[in-house]
């Protein structure tokens, strides 16, 4: 079972991710902010995908992404940003920092599922 961590301060978004991915044999874990996310990243082994809201309270999703990419223990985890249309410049920064792509909110659950499958393919590039 593939493990996904979704970091978003909206419980609805975290629940949408769980509802979309759990039927497809993903294990979905949630964090509402970067502090909880960093705790999960420290404790989890074999995380297959990280979904990060760009706008988070406290430390931003971009800053968390940069920390994940700088850590030898986590840099290989594919990261998908969850964003809004207003975040274009932040998305360019995320892309340069190593994010594999993004989904623009509101997004369809089917799109999230196909994206998660794609980024967790066994032969997906680091």
């Amino acid at each position: 079972m593939k493990k996904v961590l979704v970091v978003d301060d909206s419980q609805s978004i975290r629940s949408q991710v769980a509802a979309a991915l759990e039927p497809a044999d993903f294990q979905v874990l949630g964090a509402a902010d970067c502090v909880n996310a960093l705790q999960w990243l420290q404790d989890l082994v074999d995380l297959d995908l990280l979904l990060l809201d760009v706008n988070l309270p406290g430390m931003s999703g971009i800053e968390l992404l940069e920390r994940v990419m700088a850590d030898p223990g986590t840099w290989r985890i594919p990261v998908l940003m969850l964003t809004t249309a207003a975040d274009r410049e932040l998305l360019e920064r995320a892309r340069k920092a190593g994010a594999k792509g993004w989904l623009v909110k509101p997004f369809k659950s089917e799109l999230l599922l196909s994206t998660a499958k794609r980024l967790t393919l066994p032969t997906a590039r680091p």
Partner: protein
């Protein structure tokens, strides 16, 4: 997670956001120039729009998109906190509340929705149709796969699945310069694709799913046409560009 549980979480979060919006609007009425009120309103409207996809209710998404757009203009100072603006925002908030309390299958859910949406849309400068949920545009997507992805036929299939979820795949073709090697080995993924996609999503959303397969210098996304269902003219233009 069961759909009923998801709906309940969604409904509770919407109600909380609506409380914030109501409080923000009352504050704005008292103090029309308050930056704090404008920022608070935008944050709540922004989150409300963002969760619109959780249950996929198109009218809800349209209305919250319009609310957020007006709030964004208000925050940026491109709209004033006039009586009409505040009235339109209250009407929009009331309509969202009616919708979420009644539920999609209720006859009363959309009572007042049309006038509320029109009042909000009348306030803001015209937006490109591709930014309005539910109004499709035709896009030409040209991408050359990264060499390390060229052999991943499953990735290509999933990419096309993603684009198909976003709208209608009008056409999918390998890039002409890659045809000969592709035809020699039909199991190989072509190094590049040209896709015509009709979708209500924005260019930014399309780019978000394509950048995994192609760096920015290997990816081009061009909006060809707005709402016409007759794509023959832009498709002809796309063919003419290919022959140049």
């Amino acid at each position: 997670m069961a759909l009923a549980a998801l709906r309940e979480i969604f409904r509770a979060e919407v109600e909380e956001l609506l409380v914030n919006l109501d409080a923000g609007l009352l504050e704005l009425e008292r103090s029309r120039e308050s930056d704090a009120a404008r920022e608070r309103l935008f944050r709540a409207g922004h989150t409300l729009k963002g969760i619109g996809g959780v249950i996929g209710w198109i009218e809800f998404m349209r209305l919250t998109h319009a609310l957020e757009s007006v709030l964004d203009h208000l925050r940026a100072g491109t709209l004033r906190a006039s009586d009409e603006l505040i009235g339109a925002l209250f009407a929009g908030v009331d309509s969202v509340q009616r919708m979420v309390r009644a539920g999609e299958s209720s006859d009363v859910a959309l009572s007042g929705y049309g006038p509320a949406l029109n009042r909000l849309r009348a306030l803001e400068p015209p937006a490109p149709d591709s930014l309005v949920p539910g109004v499709p545009s035709l896009y030409e997507i040209v991408l050359r796969f990264r060499p390390d992805l060229a052999a991943l036929s499953e990735d290509t299939k999933l990419l096309l699945d993603q684009l198909g979820v976003m709208g209608e795949l009008v056409s999918v073709e390998p890039l002409p310069e890659s045809m000969s090697s592709f035809e020699r080995d039909a199991t190989r993924v072509p190094p590049g694709l040209r896709v015509l996609l009709r979708t209500p999503e924005t260019e930014l959303a399309i780019k978000g799913v394509c950048v995994y397969s192609a760096d920015e210098d290997r990816l081009r996304i061009v909006r060809l046409a707005e709402t016409s269902r007759d794509a023959s003219e832009p498709e002809r233009a796309a063919r003419e560009r290919r022959s140049e």
